[in-house]
Assembly symmetry: C2
């Protein structure tokens, strides 16, 4: 599978430029087959410490009226908190890529992921860009997906075959996942025919229902970026079919990211229902998902529902202490605000799954919302205690 | 030292009632020497899943017009999410204590701390209350302080000698510390003469500047309670001297709690200054304090300031990505938004301290605020992964 080049009109590649000490692939290119710019849309981090590549990509997308010929991405360095020099480095990455592809610099978007506050090793980048441009081809999607990985243990790829169009997508992101997004990058290609102004709201909707429903540790990265490119080779697509497909592709990637979140042992899907409204439900689900004590209890395979209930009571939404119920999978642990005896053997078996579902019913109204998260254990600490 | 009975007019005690499997002290009493009610004030958790003892204490304080004769506290069971039966149990604790002390039930406040969702073992409580009442004396403060401990490794006690008055205080609370407070209990006695309506705003001010500046993991407990009792034996106190003393006593207890937070290896004081205003500074300091990635880096003795900067940029306050600086103790790690080379040996030495200070200067205005927190490491995970 070469997911990102599965839709017609795209090529991709990944090369080792020497940024990763391991020697693994670390420079990634996605480009149109013929080097022409096609309609595109992007969603960027809301972090005010937006990395230089985010600033450059925002400016380029505006300057080129939402048309993009290529996306150049490096891993192992975020080019964030690097000042004016970092901005210049990101610009240079776009300019060099454009030179070798034969397009305008504004038609190239730039992404970086890795550590913050470290100057970009531009000697390695400038040597790597010609190589990654030369290497591009219709089967290069796997390499492109691998080259954007940081602490990811597996590539994240997905292909959707629609009635008239295809969508291909790749992503990276294993820690720091949180709305608005994460240290996550996701790239989506399609051969559906869409204008930039059609594509942007569709991408925003898909991101809101997927990456923005995923939180690993409540942190929000300086570099989060989702980019979609539409070659138009398949002609117009049914808008509602395309939106549904895009939603499904992004949700699939979000689940893949949770399943591979660094140091995690389980993916936990928190559903709050019976809330006054959807916003309250989503707020409560996110509060539980970010609750350190609850996260530790999931690591311990422990259905300590009191921590879930306490967080829901504390998070500021409408709450009836005598009206809530909490279930782990199908196993009810609390009802009408008090404990329900349950089969501990069955609960132990349930916790052997990678994916756990916790449902909190507030018994108040029709509001519902879900958040995807992970547990918090020794592996997470080990991954994050010090690698700078 | 018997801190809580250091001011004139108070007695205290602690006994083992069998709630802790270890056989340690688990039932605690603070009472007036003669059993009469004295002016009091309290601050309770804002969690909507407020435990039964919190509900009972709120009602009693109102019914007795802010006058209290005793506080009865058990550890090892929170009596939270226990429904109508739990409320009845908390009422019974007050009634029994009142009977043995010879005061009205409304003059007794009730506190509980421990696991959520488990019915109170009332047979043990009813046997323990007569014993803890009989045991009360002017030297019983240490036992009272020990009997409220849960995962605390040491008693938290403080005494302040003012020009005309004394303040004594004890506290427990090692996990789940967060505004508005924590799974924390703090009891303050004074012999200053104050009415309930004088004491309440002073206690609120002291709590805002201390316990509400302390967050261990962002969770907010169902049982948090701070209670102050004023015997009046020392006559009127200078109001500003008393307020300052009360602030200092509460801040001292907050630091003691952080230093003993379960599974932590260091106390971290986050100061944000140069903010647009104090509220923004405090919001940013709290966001950094609750950032799991930053907490893991402190555990790893790692001055990874990029995580601190990223969180400040993400938390929604006014932020200039080219204007901030970050220091660990006196060691500057970033200035004008970019990295500053620092002595790694000195940084390593600095991280050997139990208490670390991180200062973020935003370079925007005069707003400043501090939050006390701890790191996140294996010990925290071990303490919280499963004990229900």
């Amino acid at each position: 599978m070469s997911a990102i080049t599965s839709p017609r009109g795209f090529v991709a590649s990944g090369v080792p430029a020497g940024l990763k000490k391991s020697g693994k692939l670390d420079l990634s290119l996605i480009a149109t087959e013929d080097g022409t710019a096609v309609p595109a849309a992007a969603v960027f981090t809301a972090n005010k410490l937006a990395a230089a590549p985010v600033q450059v990509s925002r400016a380029h997308l505006a300057a080129a009226s939402g048309r993009v010929a290529a996306v150049i991405t490096n891993s192992a360095n975020a080019n964030a908190a690097t000042g004016a020099a970092g901005y210049g480095d990101a610009e240079q990455m776009a300019t060099l890529t454009a030179e070798h592809l034969g397009c305008a610099p504004e038609e190239v978007l730039v992404c970086s992921t890795g550590l913050i506050g470290i100057p970009m090793p531009m000697d390695k980048i400038t040597a790597g860009i010609p190589a990654v441009v030369v290497a591009r081809d219709a089967m290069g999607g796997n390499d492109a997906a691998e080259a954007i990985m940081t602490t990811d243990s597996v590539r994240k790829e997905v292909v959707h075959q629609g009635s008239t169009f295809r969508i291909g997508a790749i992503a990276k992101g294993a820690g720091m996942l949180q709305p608005n997004m994460a240290t996550m990058l996701a790239f989506v290609t399609t051969d559906a025919e869409l204008t930039p102004s059609e594509l942007h709201p569709m991408l925003r909707t898909a991101v809101d229902g997927s990456f923005n429903r995923l939180t690993i540790d409540g942190a929000q990265s300086t570099n989060d970026t989702v980019i979609a490119l539409a070659s138009g080779r398949a002609g117009p697509a049914d808008p509602s079919e395309f939106q549904e497909a895009l939603n499904a592709v992004c949700y699939d990637l979000a689940l893949q990211m949770a399943d591979d979140a660094e140091g995690s042992t389980r993916t936990v899907i928190i559903r709050v229902q019976g809330a006054t409204d959807d916003l309250q439900a989503l707020h409560a689900a996110r509060a539980v998902a970010n609750n350190q004590l609850a996260k530790c209890s999931w690591y311990g395979k422990n259905a300590y529902w009191g921590r879930v209930a306490s967080e829901v009571g504390a998070c500021g939404i409408d709450f009836d202490p005598d009206g809530f119920s909490i279930s782990y999978g199908d196993i009810v642990t609390a009802s009408s605000g008090v404990a329900v005896a349950y089969d501990e053997v069955k609960m132990g078996e349930y916790f052997e799954n990678r994916r756990i579902r916790i449902t909190v019913d507030l018994g108040l109204g029709g509001g519902a919302g879900e958040i995807i998260t992970t547990d918090l254990g020794h592996g997470y600490v080990d991954e994050n205690m010090g690698k700078s």
